[in-house]
Assembly symmetry: C2
Homo-oligomer: 461 residues x 2
């Protein structure tokens, strides 16, 4: 079964690990649109952004030109504790499917946060510490980002306040204990501890929360407390920059064994994993050196790329954040409560939105029962219990591999296995008990979200 | 901080992975005492054992002479999916402690079973499949072994029935869902589905169960159903054989970087991890080639090595299994319900018991609140959330490193980090809330267990 030239798992040596992040914006002809001040509708200045973000991260957020940015030594040291992550050849999945395709996955789940989120968390915590801050605030959905940030803050001895989407807080009590082990303070969102939380609860008393709400609360908490800044685990360009370590390691591991991928697949919520995984490959594509099919996979219940509008919108439900140009379902969009796991953000990274709009990548949506079927099959043959988010990519990779089975093509498929599902067993239990349902929003459902998108000249939907 | 010659994590290449298990019994002058038939008090014959175990595993159980046993290709393939495990240099822990000691840990938690248990599970499932069996039965305490066996059975398409110690079943509902994902059937033990379960429940209506009870039920289930055999995740000599992969990889990784360990530390329940980790090092010690301090760490609430008797005893509470000569607290011993996590078996592997009795290793016991303190400190600096079981070894390693701090000695300490604590968050929550207590059995408490040890000539306690 095994191609003896290719091991099951490709690990880079410590000295082969990337020492710079790759900034895909440097290679984009059409740069992602700048963040706008919602009051003036003018691009946010560095000074305006520095009230919310650390100074160094503001620079990274606005840097559309430097192709490579050095990773500070302290961050490299932390990366060495849990990276490089393995690039795994899915020999057993290939055999199970009977496909001539060669399937690889970059597995980011082998750390206690359970996902790739730690790659950016440690960078953001480092810059906050370097600036002499007391602590940071953030939101978390499935809990992976909150756990990652808790770990990073613990490492650098920073205070960490996490607003956790209420539905996840209730479904995942153990996530709270992990964050507590690392010393974080966790609040279910929407909460009564912020003005914006109170307002959202007054308007939607029964809401199970959304990432958009939690972002609003975390931002308010940061800007109203001396010595705190807000940090975000996805969507932002700085996050994609940090996550480029995933793609760089993947590319280095493939090159080490002279493997040429044909298709690269990532699950897409706010874009952190997808953007990180594809960055260096997209760079080659943008520079005309290589051609790859790049596929974003999103939940049918939260379909920002496949059914959203490409306009300026608020990043948060409370409308306290800058406007970002992105594929969006409207900042008021909240996925149906039957939606399990993460990938519940209403918008998509500005970088990925621009690349998608320019035709450099494809996007598809999948329904969650199909996703869990793929997850269970994967677990049984490859051994790893995948996170529901990651399983969107598994589902798409399986479908592509089955197409190869029909055509006989020996394509090489690479997908991002962003994390493990150890804290998602309530969802797995629902699936096993036949209690999991699908939900595809109607056009009318989506229109409610679109109606909340700000209207100004040039921002017609 | 980093010694640039030694990476944070040492991974063997796939072609450097061991291809044989090492059988420490071959190097023991005093062989472990044979299993006895409880009726005749004569050594169990292969024929008698084959009613309970697979034929090939019976051979391994009785093999005191072959130093190396080839690992079948199918098992090597499975090992390649999640092995080699990393040998990690605990640079951050060393820094936190301010010790001149060099600390390494062999981390076995990077697989979905969350521990080293998969190393033997896949071997036992393979031999069961090869023999044409329908399925296997087993017990599980903390749930790691049950999960591992579920994964292994799923891979080889075998039926898997798991009797789970009731206290763990109730404290760890998510473990059940993981096993279910892999298709296993899980029953809380003691149960009403077996005769021995009914008997134990009649005698101890409020019991929270023990490994000893669960073993009795699983054995009864196997011997009363055609095409089933019983498999066990610890204690047996065959299990230590399979787990020798841990020690062999550790030794190979150390040799790759010319590292000479002084102290080797493992947590000890039934002995699977400890026996596996130390085997090849013990072999060098037995052959007089090297000298190492080897330390077994057990819970103060279940102190088989440090306070048990070295006699023949039943392996299970229901007294349906053969007698094994081992350090034991008596097969009726059940740890106090406030004892969290695994390491709750009343006895200790016959191999380790003999080695301990012969003075080749030391044993200490530690209290659980101290263990959780060590676990939390470790998590915060090394990033990994450890299993409570593994944290016994962490505690001992920290103590040895602090002794080095006092003396200034630059000793090299290697310990086994057997698994992750993702499914132990109820225990962590108790610890965080100050609700965790310690329990050290009194001599009178222990006497109750000792009174149940079988009495026959030569077996006086």
């Amino acid at each position: 079964m095994q191609d003896k030239k290719i091991p099951y798992k490709i690990y880079l040596e410590e000295n082969e690990m990337p020492k710079q992040w790759y900034n895909v914006r440097a290679d984009m002809k059409n740069k992602p649109a700048p963040l706008l001040n919602p009051g003036t509708l003018q691009p946010m200045t560095a000074e305006e952004l520095s009230g919310v973000f650390c100074d160094e991260l503001v620079k990274q957020e606005m840097n559309n030109t430097d192709r490579y940015i050095d990773i500070p030594e302290e961050i490299l040291d932390f990366y060495k504790m849990y990276r490089p992550s393995p690039l795994v050849r899915a020999y057993c999945l290939e055999k199970k499917l009977g496909t001539p395709a060669k399937i690889y996955y970059k597995f980011e789940g082998n750390n206690t946060s359970g996902s790739h989120k730690l790659n950016s968390a440690i960078a953001q915590a480092y810059y906050a510490k370097k600036q002499g801050l007391k602590g940071v605030t953030t939101e978390t959905g499935a809990g992976q980002w909150g756990t990652a940030l808790s770990m990073a803050c613990s490492y650098f001895d920073l205070d960490c306040k996490v607003y956790m989407v209420k539905v996840s807080y209730e479904q995942k009590p153990f996530r709270r204990e992990v964050m507590r082990t690392y010393g974080a303070n966790v609040t279910p969102s929407p909460s009564m501890t912020t003005e914006v939380g109170k307002k959202i609860l007054a308007e939607h008393p029964g809401t199970t929360g959304s990432l958009g709400c939690a972002i609003s609360e975390a931002v308010e908490d940061a800007v109203t407390h001396e010595g705190y800044r807000y940090v975000l685990g996805s969507v932002l360009s700085q996050v994609l920059l940090h996550q480029s370590i995933i793609g760089e390691e993947t590319m280095a591991a493939l090159k080490k064994y002279n493997i040429e991928p044909d298709i690269i697949i990532g699950c897409a919520g706010g874009g952190s994993n997808l953007g990180g995984l594809i960055s260096p490959f997209m760079g080659e594509k943008l520079r005309g050196e290589k051609d790859y099919r790049i596929i974003a996979v999103e939940p049918a219940s939260c379909p920002s790329l496949t059914r959203g509008k490409y306009v300026y919108d608020f990043c948060d439900t409370g409308k306290v954040c800058p406007l970002a140009k992105m594929y969006t379902l409207g900042s008021g969009f909240i996925p149906s409560p039957n939606h399990a796991g993460g990938l519940r953000y209403h918008g998509m990274s500005s970088i990925l939105s621009q690349l998608y709009d320019d035709g450099y990548m494809e996007a598809i949506s999948v329904e969650q029962t199909e996703v869990f079927k793929a997850a269970e099959m994967f677990a049984r043959v490859e051994g790893i219990l995948p996170a529901p988010e990651s399983s969107h990519a598994i589902k798409a990779a399986i479908d592509e591999a089955l197409k190869c089975k029909e055509t006989g093509e020996e394509k090489t498929i690479v997908f991002g296995l962003t994390g493990t599902g150890y804290f998602d067993l309530v969802a797995y239990e629902k699936f096993h008990n036949g209690e999991m349902s699908d939900y595809i929003p109607t056009d009318a459902d989506l229109q409610v979200g679109f109606d909340g998108i700000p209207k100004f000249p040039g921002n017609e939907i």
